[in-house]
Symmetry: C2
Subunit: 641 residues, 2 copies
């Protein structure tokens, strides 16, 4: 029997008999890996485990811990779902069942609206199919064979014709009596799907097109272990409790009205959070040499044509007409800032020129995609454009990174992950300039001791960029800050500066937003802190509760002291029990709940309760005020006494 | 000869022979009045002075000091202009020549573009006609007589037909050989027009309609005395120097780009003025119980239909479509605040509820009417809507008036004039409620010791209002703050509160803006102060000039001290002469210009020069900083040492 050489990811090379399957190799390497194996990557391509290996190859065993493994696992669960549905509803027609961020779904053409009772039955049947532990097999077919097999399903016929046109091979996957058209790969048997849950029923359309057949969509999630599903459901439950849309309404911080889809209303308390964030950024701008401008929102088409937005972004813009001319509400600030840059002749001595703007931006997102503060039609960004000479890339990016770290790490104590996206295949400008720019970005990251992952070839065609993903308290990742180098817009607008050599040079632009959209950032903060914002950001900082009516005067006197120090305070002097008032203040997420009664008035003190339920008795008002001011000044996340 | 009784404005009654003219009565009263008389008001109607009075009547002699007198005087000057033009250009066809705010104009249909040389010739001929002191006479005609007389002038024919249709009497006015169709009245002779100037040539269209005949317009201004014209021209010159559009560009405070007509760009320095004004108002809001909200800009048509804007204001709105629905950019905040008001059930205990908003507003003004910051398409107002119970009108209006006085008198030291506009003929609601509301407004004005003029019947149909007109340094009047009671919007939106009686009541709204549009207010401030803004508002507060290079270090050290105290400061260490640097700082309207040299460094002091050119030597830096902080804190208009 002849041998083949298999190179593993750690670089080691092992010999196996020719024709061994990837699944067998996994068991050869180790029992645990063999059991966890879902698919294999052979010479960089994903394959089913049952595929025999007949030549020397590089091989990686893929498990649920790998992104590709997770996706195949979920996609196999979508097949499992379709399998169960077909058994229960033989007239249903299968369409597609892809993986999505929150799990997977499958769309069915079925003369029936699925009910929660249906879901329970389907789940039950899925469990039975798992128990049967069907082997999953791949069937390759010609176009006409496949068309024959799926002759009763116009959706599959449409897909088969497409695959054929694109000269793709046509394959299906079979488990028990169930077969579905599919590119694969799949997990080797249904028994691996140890834990799953169907989560949602929704209406959908074939190809997402409202003019086409309406379908019934079932969403689900799955895991190779029960404990993982349990943990996930717990997380979902916690996430639901923290849902910023829910908390925003409960706390009267912000809401939405149908008259203005995707555009939040910030109630007075929410407006305080909003303005406090902007003031915070403004203060930092002062220290860092940024210049804030105030700019129009509506611009004539010619500007959007010049910037390229009219060609590439128009469908995301709100456009209108006035006096026979076309206008667009700005979705981004860049063109406004280029107008300002170009309003006078600039010298190398003027650079870097940092122009900041909190202008409201509008994006005509599909109403179906809007989601609370995290996906809106109207927002403001802590946006700035920095105009620099090519030599200044490293120095300026380094400053931006320091600023970013100051906000995410030092102020909000978020963990973050950084990605550097480099030159794509199609790029503008000279290779040499790109290489210099990428080197400068890397140096700036190193100087700031920031670890980063390189996303090779994922930069925009007009420049490399650095992205920041923060991790919130539930472990969810959010993309926030972006730092984008741009060689293109200065070219399009012919933006230059006069160099020390007295000749014109093309300027480079940096697009940067640190919080990103203020709206989205507030949404994330609310969920991250479950509404318990740090004192400095909290709309109301202190509530003073009276133990009985007669202490209202004392409470008011203390309130004035707080107000003199610009602390946001109110008194609850209602004739309710202290317990009731404390619970309400906790529900309202008031960081510091003070109670005053006989003893407190006599001694000129207060009792303090934090949102962590730490209680401090007999605190002198002056000391507390100093403490609070210190906590605010230092932007403490948890109140420290 | 029979006598008639003439009642004069002071109530006195005099007897004159029947048939005496108003002009003769003026001379009977006094020689000066006789000479100043332009027209007469007989029984409340304006008449020519040469009209004989044949019955008992109330009579008032009108001079240039009266608004009606000024208008007739200027209109007679328009006739004088037309007279001169016809003599010089016999083929010109006369159209109309009305009075406007800045003087008068006359539009001519003439196959010729007027040149500045033409204007000089026309002025010359006007002087000759004045010297001839033609008597001005009124000619009454039937329609056909008039049409015959003006048979060569299609414009006049059109006007005659209109007058006839409206059953107006048809009259012309004649001076020398010149005759023009006119309702009158006019001044009695051309000799009274002692001083005039033709100021501008412009293109115009018959009836202002671009599809009709193009005309040539000549603007002019006139006065009964030369000194008045001279004073006026001086004022214009000063106004031109102070023109905020000119200063805005020179000082790099704000500008406009053609890509966004009517929407100002505030450069970093202008943005400081803008934000400082908003911070100032915000601080006052805190003290006065206003709650700021942040609201969307784009709303679906249904909201504008409900508010009445779609019917009455649509042509002034920017409207657009998204997903097949109509939207409008908000021109006002009221509907947004009503949505907020209605978002929960309100009790009488919640009132007054004061909702403030600085949201950008958009109005689709005709591009031809846009004028710098004073007439824009995009602006923010220091806007608030106060929801009150009917009983609270007086108390709440009184608070608003106190706030208004605080801003205009105490902060900016403007003189202002107040007008109370009362119930018009057509009004909504009950007479009784109007009377109570008007009484409450009057009481509130009295309580605040504010003098006011009543504009009877000039209120909106939905409520009475109070307007404030300030006077700027050049004596020009600007309408700024408005306080409007509104019974209607709460009706349209069914906005209510639960009273102490536990039943629903209709709430009342107050619309109020004190600065009005921030943009317009900045424009007015710039002109009022000729760019020399009070220290607290000034974008840059201090510039430190070095006498020679070697003092740069000392200058930087001082600069840091200022910065620590949040004073906006910069150093000019260029190797230019101090004189040059001082002149530039003055041109840049820097309130405090500091110079540092040998002596200053040695003694740790600075020399201070204010924009009034007061100079203080050997000022200790600490003392100066305290001084500056005091001036800022107290919002001093002129720097006080």
């Amino acid at each position: 029997m002849s041998k083949i050489k298999i190179t593993l990811p750690d670089g080691s090379v092992r010999e196996y008999p020719k024709g061994i399957t990837a699944g067998e190799i996994a068991f050869e390497i180790g029992k645990r890996l063999g059991e966890d194996a879902l698919i294999a990557k052979i010479n960089g391509r994903l394959k089913d485990l049952f595929v025999p290996v007949n030549e020397d190859a590089a091989l990686q065993i893929i498990t649920f811990r790998d992104k590709e493994g997770l996706e195949v696992f979920r996609h196999s669960t979508a097949h499992l779902l379709a399998h169960a549905v077909i058994e229960l509803f033989p007239d249903a027609r299968l369409t597609i069942g892809p993986v999505v961020e929150e799990g997977f779904y499958y769309d069915f053409d079925i003369g029936h609206h699925f009910t929660p009772e249906d879901l329970a039955k389907i789940e039950q049947r899925m469990h039975e199919i798992v128990k049967n532990n069907y082997k999953v097999e791949r069937v390759e077919q010609t176009e006409s064979e496949a068309k024959h097999m799926f002759k009763n399903n116009p959706y599959k016929i449409e897909l088969i014709e497409e695959f054929h046109k694109e000269k793709q091979s046509i394959s299906s996957y079979k488990q028990g009596d169930f077969i579905d058209l599919c590119r694969g790969p799949h997990i080797p048997n249904t028994g691996k799907i140890k834990a799953f849950k169907l989560t949602k029923i929704a209406a959908a359309y074939w190809r997402g097109d409202q003019k086409k057949q309406q379908l019934q969509r079932i969403y689900g999630i799955s895991f190779p272990e029960k404990s993982m599903l349990e943990q996930h459901l717990k997380l979902l439950e916690e996430a639901e409790k923290r849902d910023h849309r829910k908390l925003g309404k409960e706390l009267e911080w912000f809401t939405f009205f149908e008259e203005s889809p995707g555009a939040p209303f910030f109630y007075p308390k929410g407006a305080i959070i909003y303005s406090t964030l902007i003031s915070f950024i403004r203060e930092e701008y002062k220290k860092r040499g940024y210049n804030e401008v105030i700019t129009p929102l509506l611009y004539e088409k010619s500007l959007w044509v010049a910037s390229g937005h009219w060609e590439h972004f128009k469908e995301h813009m709100f456009t209108l007409q006035s006096e026979g001319k076309d206008y667009g509400l700005k979705p981004m600030n860049c063109p406004s800032h280029i107008l300002i840059y170009k309003s006078k002749s600039r010298s190398y001595k003027d650079l870097p020129l940092r122009i900041a703007d909190f202008a409201p931006l509008h994006r005509n997102e599909l109403s179906g995609t809007l989601a609370g503060l995290t996906r809106v039609r109207k927002m403001s960004q802590d946006d700035a454009h920095i105009f620099i000479a090519p030599k200044q890339i490293e120095e300026e990016i380094s400053r931006v990174l320091e600023f970013m770290n100051f906000i995410y790490k030092k102020t909000f104590d978020f963990e973050y992950k950084v990605e550097l996206s480099t030159r794509p295949e199609k790029f503008m400008g000279r290779l040499e300039d790109w290489e210099k720019a990428e080197d400068a970005l890397k140096k700036a990251l190193d100087v700031n001791k920031i670890k980063y992952e390189i996303k090779a070839g994922e930069g925009a065609f007009y420049g490399p960029k650095i992205d920041f993903h923060i991790k919130d308290a539930l472990g969810r990742s959010w993309q926030l800050a972006t730092v984008q180098l741009d060689f293109q817009l200065p070219e399009r607008f012919d933006a230059t500066y006069i160099g020390a050599d007295n000749t014109k040079h093309r300027v480079i632009m940096i697009h940067r937003a640190l919080l990103g959209s203020i709206e989205r950032f507030i949404g994330i903060l609310v969920e991250h802190y479950a509404g318990k914002l740090p004192l400095w950001l909290s709309p109301l900082q202190v509530r003073i509760l009276t133990v009985a009516d007669r202490f209202e005067k004392y409470a008011s006197r203390i309130k004035e002291e707080f107000e003199k120090n610009n602390i946001r305070v109110e008194v609850d002097a209602r004739t309710e029990s202290v317990g009731y008032k404390v619970r309400e203040a906790q529900f309202n997420k008031i960081p510091l709940i003070l109670t005053v009664g006989e003893k407190e008035e006599k001694n000129g003190v207060v009792a303090v309760r934090t949102l962590d339920n730490k209680v401090y008795f007999d605190v002198k008002v002056n000391e507390l005020i100093n403490n609070i001011l210190g906590n605010i000044e230092n932007k403490k996340i948890k109140f420290e006494m």
